[in-house]
């Protein structure tokens, strides 16, 4: 790892100030992606600003129609929250399937979203549930947030502060994890929401995306059988040592049907 200067931010505004001092600064949240990246010398930030200890970024607030999760909230806290499990069980389940217990004790929702790994779980939750990402500058709708592989709408030094999930009528998440890394080969979040049916797919393409054919089919009848005969297109999907684009396209259909069944 190249050396850097470490700063511990005491508040979001303090973090913004520290970041603003140097264009080569990086935010450290839980570190579960940043530190492995630094260890491989794939990045060389001059300054690392640790936001992991900022109190205002912690916590989960559940009300009748929404679940708001502070950006610094660890995956384990979301997975073990009885309130989240009551309001959006699919979200608690998704958080409980990220990485492994040790990763979940450190990794944060804000960090996962800012990183936007093509095979991360949280992007599927945010896009599938039609969440809003709040930052220290603005609110960004899920449909405008994810821009491509490891790319988001965030400015370089913008800090996610919380994520607001509207409570769906029902939702389900299923993933086929890579057996070694636990990252999603394909993960599908389906949700019946006030704004209609949403189906978000992670792991399969360069970035999370909505499977609109499935949304249309489920809008007429929210049942696994509504997806029978519907196949996701392999064009543009990931092909790698773990599976071909065609394999992933097939998995999308399988995971989507299981997710609908899970949603009940």
């Amino acid at each position: 790892m190249y050396n850097f200067t470490y700063h511990r931010a005491s508040s979001v505004s303090d973090a913004a100030k520290l970041l603003g001092q140097d264009a080569e600064s990086k935010i450290l949240a839980g570190g579960q992606t940043l530190l492995p990246t630094l260890k491989q010398r794939l990045a060389q930030p001059s300054h690392v600003v640790d936001i992991g200890g900022i109190g205002e970024l912690q916590g989960i607030k559940v009300s009748a129609d929404k679940v708001v999760i502070g950006a610094g909230t660890r995956h384990a806290a979301v997975a073990m929250s009885a309130e989240v499990a009551r309001a959006i069980p699919a979200l608690a389940k998704l958080a409980g399937g990220i990485g492994d217990p040790q990763v979940r004790n450190m990794g944060t929702i804000g960090g996962s979203l800012a990183n936007n790994d093509p095979a991360a779980d949280y992007p599927a939750a945010v896009l599938g549930l039609g969440a809003t990402v709040h930052t220290n500058k603005r609110a960004i709708a899920a449909d405008d947030f994810f821009k491509g592989m490891f790319e988001t709408a965030l400015d370089d030094q913008e800090i996610i502060t919380s994520v607001e999930f509207p409570v769906p009528q029902k939702a389900g998440y299923m993933k086929f994890p890579n057996p070694a890394s636990r990252y999603a080969m394909v993960g599908v979040m389906v949700a019946q929401t006030k704004a209609g049916v949403r189906v978000a797919v992670t792991g399969a393409g360069p970035s999370v995306f909505r499977w609109q054919d499935a949304e249309k089919a489920l809008a007429s009848k929210f049942a696994a059988a509504a997806l029978d005969g519907l196949a996701a297109k392999a064009d543009g999907l990931n092909s790698d040592m773990h599976g071909s684009a065609e394999y992933r396209a097939h998995l999308i259909g399988v995971m989507a049907r299981r997710a609908v069944a899970e949603a009940g």
């Binding site: 790892m1 190249y2 050396n3 850097f4 200067t5 470490y6 511990r8 450290l28 570190g31 579960q32 530190l35 492995p36 630094l38 260890k39 690392v48 640790d50 992991g52 384990a76 073990m80 990485g99 492994d100 217990p101 040790q102 990763v103 004790n105 450190m106 070694a180 890394s181 636990r182």
Partner: protein
């Protein structure tokens, strides 16, 4: 160089370190606590698991400076008054190790697991140890050891 202070196995420690020092390097190289192992060094194998304020984390994927002010427990801190922790005793009793390389991390993860699930099923144990890789045992005796320890820890 920044100074980092924390409590490790009940003792206050303070050292001047480089910002980039990993917690596992701090424990092994600066404090001489070599019971915490470095296996894969890529956050996958779990040989480096320690407890931070009672929660299991991978110490190869945390900076020592991030641990400022926390309480760390390593495998060296589990036994009390020369008596093995029930989890260590169960691993010994049920032959939950062969080469022993993964064992410190496996034990630390298992202690955290049993704290969250005092009466874990086999499935809960296997799922809960996903972050720890053992290349010798095939896991069967590890699962048995964790089940036995959970029973003993319930008293």
């Amino acid at each position: 160089m920044p100074t980092v202070s924390m409590t490790v196995n009940g003792k206050s420690v303070s050292r001047d370190i480089e910002d980039r020092t990993l917690l596992v390097e701090f424990l092994r190289d600066h404090l001489g606590l070599t019971g915490t192992h470095v296996g894969c060094d890529t956050s996958q194998c779990g040989a480096c698991v320690v407890h931070i304020d009672g929660k299991s984390v991978k110490s190869c994927t945390m900076l020592a400076v991030q641990a400022e002010g926390v309480t760390v427990t390593t495998i060296e801190g589990l036994a009390t008054d020369g008596k093995l922790h029930p989890m260590q005793e169960a691993f010994r009793e049920h032959h939950g190790l062969q080469c022993g390389f993964c064992t410190p991390g496996m034990v630390m993860s298992a202690v955290d697991l049993v704290k969250r699930h005092p009466n874990p099923s086999e499935e809960t144990i296997r799922h809960g140890l996903e972050g720890n890789i053992c290349r010798c045992t095939g896991y069967h005796n590890i699962v048995r050891a964790v089940q036995a320890a959970a029973t003993n820890m319930r008293g």
